[in-house]
Amino acid sequence: MTSSPYEGLEPGAFWRTGVSEVRRFPPAGLYQARFAIPRDLPVLTAGSCFAQHVGRALVRNGFNVIDTEPLPDRIANRYVALSQKFGYGLYSARYGNIYTMRQFLQLLRESQGVFEPAEPVWERDGRFFDAMRPSVEPAGLASPELVKTARTAHLAAIREALSQAGLIVFTLGLTEAWQHIESGTVYPTAPGTIAGEMDDTIFGFVNFRAAEIREDFLALRDLVRAVNPDMRFLLTVSPVPLTATASGQHVLPATIYSKSVLRAVAGELYEDFEDVDYFPSYEIIAAHPSEGSFFEENMRTVSARGVRRVMRAFLAAHGGEDIDGETAPAIAASPDEDEDLVCEEALLEAFNK
């Protein structure tokens, strides 16, 4: 006589005992860390806007987050919003938001000298921008040469970050991107959004499929493991919906599609590789049990409360059980923290006139 395979499973395996009858959300046991993250393990952070929350929380809670393009503490502490506006203190180097796996792969390849982006300098009103991170100099620079000089130093900083890192925390943000048609170079923003000019004979839209994202990750994994064979990965999916879609679909199904693809890829990578962990920030914020309560009124921006809940779940699994997000100022986002987030994607809203 065979009993049901569901018999004896943990309460978390059942919707009723794992979700609907649990008084606290996110429920305990939602995330069980695959591997520990020692506080002294050098962590490289990257990803879409939401990754900024993750990075900050890690720093506040004493994790060893790498920053190879730091400001002096005095400047970083006194000019927080300004520094972030120029790309300082957001991630392990000043690369700004990295929305797609392809963009991340390109960046690491470029840092290793095996990739060269096409059309790397964009112009606007006589000022010049790094097309691969156009937001880090909000007013651009005076010449293309200065952009190149800055990028050379930036790539060295990325190499340094990669050489230090033992863990890469990456937040998958988007499947949609704009690319240079001939070379396949992918950019973080559409040409013409921050700088540059849209020319549909040069640039085209791409909506990466799951298989492509997986392949990109595998190539990236090979690359970083060549630098550090013990490198581990912690993947998350951003719960932040698309500001706009160029897919031709309505933005809501386009968002669900995009997030579903990213979630599926992350899930399979978790299944396939012991060095990959997945943290369900997406589920905590965006799944229906939270009834949208972790979003601001625009139903897009994640609220400070939502960030606290996410980080509480993360810290509970990584030795942060002594920190209560509701009471500890250490991880409590400031009321205006969301306004501090640097998110080029939000600029698309400006085009919705």
């Binding site: 000019y79 100099e137 620079l141 200065l146 130093a153």
Partner: protein, 263 residues
């Protein structure tokens, strides 16, 4: 006869020391002083009736202010002009930035990191705005105020570089090849912000400046303390009677357009 009040922090002392010499030059200006420690001054308030009240943290503060000035508050409405000294639109933050960053558009001094000139300028804009908010909170609407910055540190502060990190940062800034450009930007930013808020701005006299954000060390020798006596020789931030006289002369000539009697 014009009544000029010098109101502010410990930097008032240099002008008080110079009062005798100045009054001999400008007999039609009557000088008064009201001074206190910087925290008492910068967080003080001018009330609706025009009375300045220092920010008191303790009885010690209150007693000190009373001992120095003979009063705890001062009525500003009885003065034709009020020279305010003690706010500091300090470039120290920039000095710290340049300790390990070169300016991308500027000189390569071998620093491991760089930042853009736009970032440095944005920092200046922010530090100026931050200090200006203190100024407006303290002084309120204009009452014939003439603002001047606390003196730039003396270039001799470099002597303390080994044992005092701020001295190391400041002296490095003064010698930095890009400091003149940033200093000029800062001067314009301060002047524009202060005048934009409705006050008059008096820059530190050019002949007292020996380096970007650095005062000629001659002016820091024998600097006086507002409570009496002299400043520590390791101070390098407070100036002497010669400096005070330069400041008063600048007020008289540049702001009040008064030619000294000795001319």
């Amino acid at each position: 006869m014009s009544r000029l009040l010098v109101l502010g922090s410990s930097h008032v002392a240099a002008m008080k020391q110079a009062a005798g010499a100045f009054c001999a030059e400008c007999r039609d200006i009557e000088l008064s002083f009201f001074a206190m420690a910087a925290p008492n001054f910068r967080l003080g308030r001018v009330g609706k009736r025009g009375v300045f009240a220092p920010h008191l943290r303790s009885r010690v503060d209150r007693d000190f202010i009373e001992n120095v000035n003979g009063a705890r508050t001062i009525d500003l409405t009885t003065f034709d002009h009020i020279l305010v000294v003690g706010f500091r639109f300090s470039l120290s933050d920039l000095a710290w930035l340049l300790m390990d960053h070169d300016i991308l558009e500027g000189s390569d001094t071998g620093k491991a990191l760089h930042c853009s000139e736009a970032f440095a300028q944005a920092c200046i804009d922010q530090l100026v705005a931050r200090e200006l908010s203190l100024v407006t909170n303290c002084l309120g609407q204009n009452r014939n105020y003439i603002l001047t910055d606390a003196p730039y540190p003396a270039v001799s502060i470099a002597a303390r570089s080994e044992e005092y990190a701020p001295a190391r940062a400041l002296s490095a800034f003064m010698a930095h090849p890009d400091a003149p450009v940033l200093f000029e930007y800062w001067q314009k930013a301060v002047s524009s912000a202060v005048e934009g808020a409705g006050y008059r701005w008096l820059p530190q006299p050019a002949d007292t400046v020996a380096a970007p954000f650095g005062t000629n060390a001659d002016f820091s020798r024998d600097a006086a303390h507002i409570g009496g006596g002299g400043m520590d020789t390791a101070d390098h931030r407070h100036m002497n009677a010669d400096f005070g006289l330069k400041m008063l002369q600048a007020v008289s000539m540049d702001i009040l357009e008064n030619v000294p009697d000795t001319a």
